[in-house]
Symmetry: C2
């Protein structure tokens, strides 16, 4: 879907700092998705959560009977994507990533087994996608798995150029509540299936 | 509190313990569900995962550029259930618990917000349930959310008697591969919807 990339609201205070949007200042994509998901739950629209960060715990102390303190643990590679849940009876599954690049999204940001996971979900009737934010440009895109796979099958590049997103992905505009109304896009996608 | 990878090995001396089934020896319900889910993924049947244990990280060390070691963290209350995923285009969501009691399952084992979560999932078209194992009896049940809610609405008891499970829930028999074929029951349930 083509969203004419132009018209971005500039905020008065951001007029001098050309690349920084006032709206997003201080909020990561993750934080915005979390508040959006909270909003969706609050209005009983969708039940989508970020999964906890996977870690391997190697040492635990029990200073008292009911309390456990983890004293040593390591971050581990996630086996799936970061977000999943339920919307209108559909299984939703996605990964969200930010990049500072103005020109492309490096595929190193997504593990191969995560792409395989998205492919499996897509094949089994789930709604699977990635959300990519180009922070410097303040452009956020939702790319459906089928389009991601199409890119991977037809290109040897190790990064997806921004033009591919502008052409094939759906741009998610900043909003107030929810901050990132990505389910509006899913409505279009479900409608179009 | 469940610990990741917390497969508690039973030692040889337990062979004499009459109530321990040979089949389940050394495998917790969690471990059996994990191997079953792995099996389902391996045969491309379903994509259901245990979510990582939620923790709050308070201290992280970076001994080298690429390595992070968590030096202090605490277990936090999960906001949802432990397992979710996709099967036959349906969103699957459940909590799994063991009890040593021979007579009833204490509702203290499930947080109120987890029950609310299961209710929301059920209402929005997901397949939501609990799996409860009476370890001493070696009986494992799958109880659909609607039946759990029925119990909660019609009883003031703080625990669900085993007879309620025997009457309303589906017993999951031990198998070889998958160890716990709970999707066989879900097939019946989906078929009956």
């Amino acid at each position: 879907m083509n969203y004419p990339g132009g018209i971005k609201k500039q905020n008065e205070s951001s007029v001098t700092a050309k690349n920084v949007s006032y709206k997003n200042r201080g909020m990561t994509l993750e934080a915005e998705l979390n508040t959006s998901n909270e909003y969706y739950r609050g209005i009983d629209k969708a039940y989508i959560y970020k999964k906890p960060t996977p870690i391997k715990i190697t040492k635990v102390d029990y200073p008292s009977r009911d309390k456990a303190v983890i004293k040593e643990a390591f971050f581990t590679i996630p086996s799936t994507t970061d977000y999943n849940g339920l919307y209108k009876g559909k299984y939703i599954d996605f990964e969200a990533k930010e990049t500072k690049s103005k020109t492309s999204f490096s595929l190193e940001n997504i593990h191969e087994h995560q792409i395989k996971h998205l492919e499996n979900i897509d094949k089994h009737g789930g709604i699977a996608f990635v959300i990519v934010r180009f922070t410097t440009l303040n452009e956020t895109y939702l790319l459906m798995t089928k389009d991601l796979l199409e890119f991977l099958q037809t290109s040897n590049r190790k990064s997806i150029p921004i033009d591919f997103f502008r052409e094939k992905a759906y741009q998610i505009k900043d909003g107030y509540n929810p901050r990132l109304d990505y389910l509006k896009i899913i409505d279009q996608v479900i409608g179009g299936i």
